[in-house]
Amino acid sequence: MNPQELERLLRSELTRRESAPVELWSGIRQAMSRERPGPRLWISRRWLPWAVAVPLLATLIFGAVSVVQSISRNRVEAALQAYVSRVPDTAPTTITAAGLPVTAERTAMIAGQPVTQLVFYPEGNRTPESGVSLFIFNSRFRLPAGRSGSMQMVPFQCSKQVCLAACRRCTEQAIKTVVASFASAPLSQQ
């Protein structure tokens, strides 16, 4: 079939219109009563996603910046304090830097704050009276007046930027600091 014949055939066949069923109108009316048009938008549908996305993105960015600024502004001073209590007289001779066994570790609550407590015992003497407690807590924490007693403060810096309580690294550093302190100056003399 050549193009002219095809065109004539298509025109003769396709130009004839079919009548739509009139009862369609009642269906359209019913559907329209269910599907009332909503209020006219102030923006065309084409730009609607942008109108939603841009403020949302701006809010997210603003929120993220605010959070980062807030964290950096309220950065915790990570200087920790280590208190050594109940220093027995025998401590300078029995507790040495080389062999300082930590025999107990727990988190104590002092004035509602979590405080890491390490207990050391001199070699060969594990009586409660001979134990030395090392309390490690944040620099912002203040011991209640009655608890300071014979405690000695050993301040040190935490290597973490944000350290709210004594972390594992702080604990290790505190032990090193205290052990170095023991080595250089016997506790009984402090």
């Binding site: 050549n2 055939l9 396709l14 009548s19 269906g27 549908r45």
Partner: protein
Amino acid sequence: MTTASVEPSLSRVAEGRGADDPESAFLLFTSYKDRVYSFALRFVGDKTRAADITQDVFVKLLTRLGDYRGDSRFETWLYRIVANACIDDLRRAKRWLPWLATENHPALAANGDFAYQRIENRQRSEAVQRAISNLSPSLRAPILLRYMEDLSYEEIGEVLSISPGTVASRLNRAHRALAKQLDGFREGF
């Protein structure tokens, strides 16, 4: 119905009173219903689905008439809605009703004066419909817009959001496919 008689109802419906002004909405429906239905019927080849498409198109048309900004002909905007509705329907049918064969509806057969002529006309109509149904939707839409609605390449391109060059290319491919399938039929067969 001439375009001039439709325009007043169109403007009244476009003012947002389409849903509340049954008279003008009905005038719009009666003006375009046969065009929409015929296009859908040729496109999907099934009377029930064509009726459903027509209903959907008019519901969309009357509820979203406010979106028509008049920067193109109303018919172009209408055909865009119809073509998209037909393509969506084919896609849905392909997904949900893969076993559904295209119906060769007797309504498409011409009414001849004589029995033999009626049979021949019917055979020819069915062959044309079958050939059109075998085209892919991307080729079917330009053919129907060209021969049913007599749109120019530019108008077809506007309806289908493609360039006139692409319209020409698709029409050319559709012509070759149709010529191959309708080789046994001649105009005035």
